[in-house]
Amino acid sequence: MTGQPLLTAESVTKFYGSRLGCRDIGFELYAGEVLAVVGESGSGKSTLLKLLSGQLEPSGGRVLYRMRDDVTRDILTLTEAERRFLFRTDWGFVHQHAELGLRMGVSAGANVGERLMAVGWRHYGRIRDEAETWLERVEIDATRIDDRPTAYSGGMRQRLQIARNLVTSPRLVFMDEPTGGLDVSVQARLLDLMRGLVADLGLAAIVVTHDLAVARLLSHRILVMKDGRAIETGLTDQVLDDPREPYTQLLVSSILQP
């Protein structure tokens, strides 16, 4: 973790009319670091993720991102073209519902290859080879490359979505409840896979989740949100083992122990 942070949030605030989305969130994220944002439903997690990824305009504060050329820019001042370029090269976004992040009408290979074609790849054989490599990396049988995602199970769709996002070697991936809606054994496998990929590729990631187990497994640092505010931040193990805030204590103690 060298030099400048990759992403900096400075007192990011969002109001929906008079209702609070989130308020005064600030943190720095360095390359290769995974930050988990936890909190109950309605605590402003998803709002924060949209603000950080430039999909929503904050009411106050700003979000800075260090581009590949090492210039730090305010993501709000990016043009639409630059923002889109960022989204298909340097960033990834993994949705909770894979259908939102995938093109359900085209094959898995085309889904993975889309970003490559968008950045100018024009050699079918190479695009397909790359897609095959990535399917294998996310443990999808390469013989299913021509199947549409509609023929995939929920877990496979989620893995396909991850492959589609990682194919251009992004430096930062936003994940919104990546394991939501999957059964426990599939979740475990997906988490294992994601942990491996994040470590191998040196990815930075911001993972929004309500599942503390996901945070524990994937993240280095954690940010606990309640009612739109960050009430506690720190190293994941530290926060989960020794929560300071009463709300965090409640969260930790409400994990079911089988």
Partner: protein, 304 residues
């Protein structure tokens, strides 16, 4: 059918070429903008025409807007001068404008076409008007109009190759044979209307002005003379125009786009030029196909 040049008396009940002058001015402005930005789809206030959508209402409005009293109009439908769509649109303009009409490609100043480009090379004194059903090449990949417009604006065309990728993955080759996407002057990706991809190379550096009218979708776009039109492809799967294993059964041409015609209910078939005028001209020059003289008059026409 005999090649003919005819002049009809216009009906005085209509303004010249049916549309009122204000509407024509509006369409001409759209056309000028389209010519200024090759391949860009210009929205225009498409009018109700006395024919259903899908019958060429866009092409008819463009033709009406550029038609002058001294023009000679040719109308083709899938290359033929004598099919329903061509005949009715030609009659429409004979009745409402009284301009001369012709079936000879070389004689025409304006050629309105449904889905073909004439075989004979066009000249700078001619205008080719296409009837377009769906002008947006990205439509079947991205249903949102707001999104496709942004994609055009930002030259965000990766998605177009996703379609071609999908073709190769499914069929082993690019199986799109009509409405094959092209890039105009290195900038806008354009749907060349459902012309067969056989015709795509003719659009490149064409001497004639090419205008595209989509009535239902309310869009006009254009390819000015001598503009580059490149068919999209992959490096390892380059664009290939359709090739035929047959020669035309009537005029023996091997370089033209052929229609397959079923001749009986026992598997009989023949391949003939889709461009009827070109075929007749070749027969008049003495070219003789295998079935010339045997083919039914309905297919061969009176020139057989």
């Amino acid at each position: 059918m005999n090649a003919m040049i005819s002049t009809a008396t216009p009906s005085t009940a209509y303004n010249f070429a049916y549309l009122d002058e204000q509407t024509k001015r509006m369409i001409r402005r759209a056309i000028l903008k389209a010519i200024a930005i090759p391949g860009y789809q210009v929205p225009f206030a498409s009018r109700e025409m006395p024919m259903p959508y899908g019958w060429g209402t866009g092409g008819v409005q463009v033709t009406a807007a550029i038609l002058g009293a001294n023009d000679r109009l040719k109308v083709i439908d899938q290359g033929a001068d004598d099919t329903t769509n061509a005949v009715s649109i030609r009659k429409f303009f004979e009745k409402t404008s009284g301009v001369a009409t012709t079936t000879l490609t070389a004689d025409a100043t304006i050629i309105q076409t449904r889905h073909r480009i004439p075989e004979k090379e066009l000249t700078e004194t001619q205008v080719l008007v296409y009837q377009v059903p769906i002008p947006e090449p990205l439509r079947f990949l991205e249903p949102r109009e707001t999104e496709t417009r942004v994609m055009h604006a930002l030259e965000d065309y990766g998605l177009m190759h996703v379609k071609l990728y999908e073709d190769i993955a499914t069929h082993g080759h690019i199986a799109t044979t009509y409405a094959y996407p092209v890039k105009v002057e290195g900038r806008y990706v354009m749907d060349p209307s459902p012309t067969p991809k056989f015709d795509n190379p003719k659009m490149d550096d064409c001497a004639a002005l090419q205008l595209f009218g989509a009535g239902r979708e309310k869009r006009i776009y254009a390819v000015p003379p001598h503009t580059s039109v490149v068919s999209l492809d992959f490096e390892d799967h380059p664009f290939e125009a359709t090739k035929f294993d047959h020669a035309c059964a009537l005029c023996a041409a091997t370089h033209t786009y052929l229609d397959e015609v079923i001749t009986d209910d026992a598997g009989g078939r023949m391949f003939v030029c889709s461009d009827t005028d070109h075929c007749e001209e070749r027969r008049a020059e003495g070219h003789r196909g295998d079935l010339l003289g045997e083919a039914p008059a309905a297919i061969a026409g009176s020139a057989a």
